[in-house]
Symmetry: C2
Subunit: 339 residues, 2 copies
Amino acid sequence: MNKHVGSQSIKFHNPPSIISAAAVVGKKEGEGPLGKYFDRASDDMLFGKDSWELAESAMVLETIKLAIKKANLKETDINYVLAGDLLNQSTGSTFGVKDLNVPFFGLFGACSTMGEAMSLGAILIDGGFADYVVASASSHFCAAEIVFRYPLGLGTQRTLTSSHTVTGDGAVVMCANGSVAPYVTAITTGKIVDMGLTDANNMGAAMAPAAVDTLVAHFKDFNRTPDYYDLILTGDLGHVGHELVVRLMKDEGYNMTKNYTDCGIEIYDQKKQDTHAGGSGCGCSAVTFAGYLYQMMQQGTYNKILFMPTGALMNQTTALQGQTIPAIVHGVVIENTKG
Amino acid sequence: MNKHVGSQSIKFHNPPSIISAAAVVGKKEGEGPLGKYFDRASDDMLFGKDSWELAESAMVLETIKLAIKKANLKETDINYVLAGDLLNQSTGSTFGVKDLNVPFFGLFGACSTMGEAMSLGAILIDGGFADYVVASASSHFCAAEIVFRYPLGLGTQRTLTSSHTVTGDGAVVMCANGSVAPYVTAITTGKIVDMGLTDANNMGAAMAPAAVDTLVAHFKDFNRTPDYYDLILTGDLGHVGHELVVRLMKDEGYNMTKNYTDCGIEIYDQKKQDTHAGGSGCGCSAVTFAGYLYQMMQQGTYNKILFMPTGALMNQTTALQGQTIPAIVHGVVIENTKG
C-alpha cells in the first residue's frame, strides 16, 4: 500500500480532518488586513512575561490550548504535538508546550515549519498512528530580531527588501476518521534549494527558487496545473519573492498570475503598516492559515488550496561567515472534499 | 487500523528494516573504547573546512552518503532524509544535506534527535509513505562549545559533572518490506519533563527524570519489564544521570541494574580520556547506535534493544535568563525479529 506519488509527494488514503484552528498574534498583526480573523491580538508584546522569548512560549501555549478547546477536546486526548519556531534550539515551542504533558516531536524548518508540522501530522493520522494531532508554528518579532538581525534597541534602519517577522502562533488540530472539512489530502515535501544568494535582508529572493522547485514537483507529481486550486499561497516570500515566483514559474510553463498570493503579502497593509517587503517568520503562514484561510474554507470561499510555507535555513553564524541561504518549501493540499 | 499502544507508544505492523548504518567521528571518539566500530575517525577536526560549523556539515554529508552507499542505493532512491543537530537553526544538518537533492524533514530534539529521526522514519515506512528513509543526527565538540558553553580559546575549566560533546554523525537507512534484521518494531515518544534543574553543567541530572518518564511509559504501554531486553541504552546521561536513572527506576519498581547502560558512558574511557561525566551531543547516541550497536545486533550479540536518546531542550539564552532545563527522551525498540 504505497501512498507515495511521483518524485516527492504523498496522497493520503484516509485524509485527516482539520477539526479546529487557532491563531493568537501581536498588536501589529491585529491591526492588519487579517486582524478580524485572529482569535486574539495581544496589546502586550511581552504576553505578561519578562522576556521576548518567554512571551513567545506563552503565546504558543495559549494558542495550542485554544485550538484543543475549540475542538472540544482535552489535552489528554492529543496523541502528539508537532511544533517549531525560529529561536535557537526551538525554545519558543519547547518552553511553550513543556507543561502540556503530550508526546512531542520538535521540528525545525524555519518559516516552512507549519507546512512540515501539518505534513508529519497528516502522516501520523493517515497511517493509523494517532487519533488527534496538534501542529503549531510560531514566531515573535522582538525575539526573532535578536536571533537573526539586530537587537531592537539599536534602532537599525531596515532595507526595503527586508521583511517584518510576524508575532503569532497558528495551531490546528487534525483528526482521524473525521467527516468534517477541510481535509489534508496530499503533501509535497520540499528539497533544500540553494541558489547562492547571501543577502539575509532579502529572504524573499533567497526562498523563491525553493518555492518554484516544490511547486513544479507538485504539479508534475499530481499532473495538475495551478488552476486546479482556488488559491495557492506561499509562506512568507513577501512582495519581492512573490514577483520572482510568478516570473520563474512562467519560465517553467505555469501561469501563476490568477490565483497565487503570499501570506507575507496578505498579513500586513504594506503602505499603512511600513512593513517593507511583507511579513515573515514561522508564525506568518501559520496564523494566515489557522486564522484567515481556515475560516474561508469553512465558509466555502475557497474549496481547494495549496498551502506552501517557505523557510530560509540560515542562522546568524552562517550569515556572518558569508555563507549562502539554503531554503525549503513544503506543500500541503487542503480541500473541502476528501480528494 | 490503529497502531497506537497505551499512552504514548506505537507498535509497527510492517517494521522497517535498518539495512545499513554509518558512523563518522572525530579523533577523540576514534581513540575511545568504541573506536574500532566507527567507519572513520577524522584526525582533522575541521574535516577540511574553514569553520567548526562547516566541519560538522561536511561530516553529516560524508556519513549520510556512506550509509546510502553501504545500502547499495543511490541518493535518488531515498524518499526522505530526517536529520537534526545542536547548532542554532540546525545548520549542521541543513548545510550538510542541502546538496543531496532529497526531500527533507528537519528535526530538533537536542540530543534525543536520533530517537526522533528513527521514530518518524519508521512511521513514514510502516505507513506506506516511503520505501527508503535516512535518519541522521550529529554534533561537533568545537561547534557545540561555542553554542552552549564557552569558546574553546578561553580554556575554561570544566566541572566534573559536565559532559564532553561527541564529534560524530550517525546515520541509518531504513527500508520498507525488508527481510533483513534488525527491525524497528516499536517506539515510545517522549513528553517534555522539567523538574526545575538549572545547572547547564549537569545535563545528566536534568535529563534523568525524562528518561525515567519514557521508560516507565514504555514498560506500562507494552506490559514489559527491563528483562525483556538484552540491552537498554539511554542517550547521553553519562555517569551522573545513569546512576540517577537506576535509583529513580528502583523507586518505580523496576530493576535496571542488570542490562542498562548509557551511550555517554560507553563512548569514552572516562579515566584515560578525561571526559568527566561522559559523552553527550546528538552524535553520542547516533554513532553509538550506527557504529557499535548495529554491528552487535548483526552479530547476534544483542537481539532486543531499547534505544533511548535523551535531549536537554535549553539554549544559551534560557540558561543566561536562569530558566530551567526541560528534557525529552524518545524510546526506539530495535529487534532481530519482527516482534
